[in-house]
């Protein structure tokens, strides 16, 4: 195995060894959301014509779980390594910063997809969920988890202690995902809040992902894809810059 594949494999093994906590726990909590919200709102809300609220909710919850876990994977792996100091073994090796970046992002993508797929398959046993285009679904799943994986690298390197990381998670990632249209369509919002939602990159991930299932969305999936691609490029560039210059890790 070359250096890059070793690091990728190590990162995959890292979360898989604690899979109960990193894969199954988020699946359970997402299914609880589904249970509660669908029970409360099934009769009262219809987001898209002809789509029950529960079925509308499922893709949103799936992508939300994927994004949160993709972020959690790279950020927690890095901060644990850095706080305990074992990241030096990676830094002492001839691995390039591009290889480090790609391995961490891919591991995040895999964990995100594993969680998302698990939730999807379980809900498929109980509900009839249309699937308009697997390609759109997959592209948005990939882009979203990759973007969050890269953001997780930034967060993991920037955070000096676990408190910083949980602040980021609770005050930025969580609100942005909750307010991205997971639980509602933004067309139901007052104009001001709708306008604000367009500035939230998570909105495009959720909207585009849902388009792949229902062929209906608040904005064109191409616009969503473009917005996401731009975000991903910008975040990747920043992450690569940080890794290249050794920001914080090679002081």
């Amino acid at each position: 195995m070359n250096g890059f594949l070793t690091l990728l494999y190590k990162e995959l093994l890292r979360f898989w060894k604690v899979g109960f906590q990193t894969v199954f726990a988020p699946m359970l909590s997402t299914l609880l959301y589904l249970l509660i919200f669908s029970h409360m709102l099934e009769e009262r809300v219809q987001a898209y014509p002809g789509v029950t609220y529960t079925v509308f909710l499922i893709p949103g919850l799936v992508i939300m779980a994927m994004l949160q876990n993709a972020f959690a994977n790279s950020s927690s792996s890095l901060i644990q390594s850095i706080v305990s100091g074992n990241h030096i073994f990676m830094l002492l090796s001839p691995l390039s910063y591009q290889e480090i970046f790609t391995a961490y992002v891919l591991a995040s993508v895999v964990r995100g997809l594993a969680v998302g797929l698990g939730i999807y398959l379980i809900t498929l046993g109980f509900f009839e969920i249309p699937l308009y285009s697997f390609a759109w679904v997959f592209v948005f799943a990939l882009m979203g988890t990759a973007l969050l994986g890269a953001l997780g690298i930034i967060a993991g390197i920037w955070a000096e202690k676990f408190e910083h990381l949980s602040a980021l998670q609770n005050f930025i990632i969580l609100p942005l995902t909750f307010l991205s249209g997971v639980f509602y369509t933004i067309s139901s919002l007052p104009p001001f809040w709708r306008g604000l939602s367009y500035l939230n990159p998570f909105f495009y991930m959720v909207d585009g992902f849902r388009y792949g299932f229902f062929r209906t969305s608040d904005v064109s999936p191409y616009l969503s894809l473009g917005a996401l691609a731009a975000c991903f490029l910008a975040v990747s560039w920043l992450t690569l810059q940080m890794l290249k210059t050794g920001y914080k890790i090679r002081r």
Partner: protein, 307 residues
């Protein structure tokens, strides 16, 4: 021949703190070299710069001729580092840790060599144990093993024997001496000066980010002026004429400091005049510890010595 390690005019600043102040250092292939100095002298910073863990503010470092920044891949393949801190990844076993470490260097089938290191470092019983459940000494051995997975020609050990029991310390040195005999260049930092004296051929002493001494151990010790003599006398009192030379008096032994060996004549004469009988006499050689203490105390007035 290309030096194993070459450091040129390396400066390192952390904000207002000057951790390293224009370090120049060349370590030849096959040397057993010690980096000495009090805490905070800059030893670990220098090692980190050579290892690529820290970027120098200015200056350059090379390992086997490869610049640690521009040709980092080649430089890092040439170098194995045993860090000072007991760091480990709690998710994995000893064998997994070593396999991952070789994988990072792109080494595919390394089980033979890994088994050999595991055997030499007496880790065989613990190979499939999670890193978390190892004792401190065992973790230290794994750190050494990790530094060796890619068979680096240059090995740096940052205080490898800090907090390690005597038995392991000796086993570790036997192993490292063996590596040195096989042609590996060894650089170590240690607080145990007798270790440096027993193992190393050359030392650099750092103080406040500068090299204050760079010498072979032999020259360093022979250059230091002054000897000590240890006497047991009957009766057990030092003649007044010799009181000025006295350093200590402990359990019947008087220790005197003399500048030159010929001063011994005067000591003998004074003793004879006082009709004191010499029961025992020893001339003590200065050791590295003494040199170290002397230099660290007077480093302000010392110009860097080069060989």
């Amino acid at each position: 021949m290309t030096p194993a390690i070459e450091v040129r005019q390396v400066y390192k600043r952390f904000g207002a703190l000057h951790a390293l102040h224009g370090i120049d250092l060349e370590i030849n292939t096959g040397e057993f070299f010690a980096l000495l100095g009090p805490n905070g002298a800059g030893k670990t910073t220098l090692i980190n710069i050579i290892a690529g863990l820290t970027l120098a503010s200015s200056g350059s470092a090379r390992v086997k001729g490869h610049d640690v920044v521009a040709e980092y891949r080649e430089a890092r393949r040439m170098l194995g580092v045993v860090p000072q801190e007991l760091v480990f990844d709690p998710f994995f076993t000893v064998r997994e840790t070593l396999l991952f470490q070789s994988g990072y260097y792109g080494i595919k089938k390394n089980n033979g060599w890994i088994d050999e290191i595991i055997h030499h470092l007496d880790l065989a019983d613990k190979a499939d144990t999670n890193m978390r459940s190892l004792s401190g000494g065992m973790k230290r051995r794994v750190l050494v093993a990790q530094a060796l997975v890619h068979k680096p020609p240059v090995i740096i050990l940052d205080e490898p024997t800090a907090g390690v029991d005597v038995e392991l310390r000796q086993a570790l040195w036997r192993f490292i001496k063996q590596l040195n005999r096989n042609g590996h260049t060894i650089v170590l930092t240690t607080h145990y000066l007798e270790e440096a004296e027993a193992l190393c051929n050359r030392v650099a002493m750092l103080k406040n980010g500068s090299i204050v001494v760079l010498e072979s151990v032999r020259n360093l010790i022979s250059n230091i002026s002054g000897h000590r003599i240890r006497l047991r006398l009957s009766p057990d009192t030092l003649p007044t004429a010799l009181q000025l030379l006295a350093i200590s008096h402990d359990q019947g032994y008087h220790v005197l400091a003399i500048e030159e060996c010929c001063q011994l004549e005067n000591v003998m004469a004074a003793l004879r005049a006082a009709q004191t009988q010499i029961l025992e006499l020893q001339i003590l050689q200065p050791d590295l510890e003494e040199v170290f203490v002397k230099i660290m105390h007077s480093a302000e007035n010392l110009k860097p010595v080069s060989v």
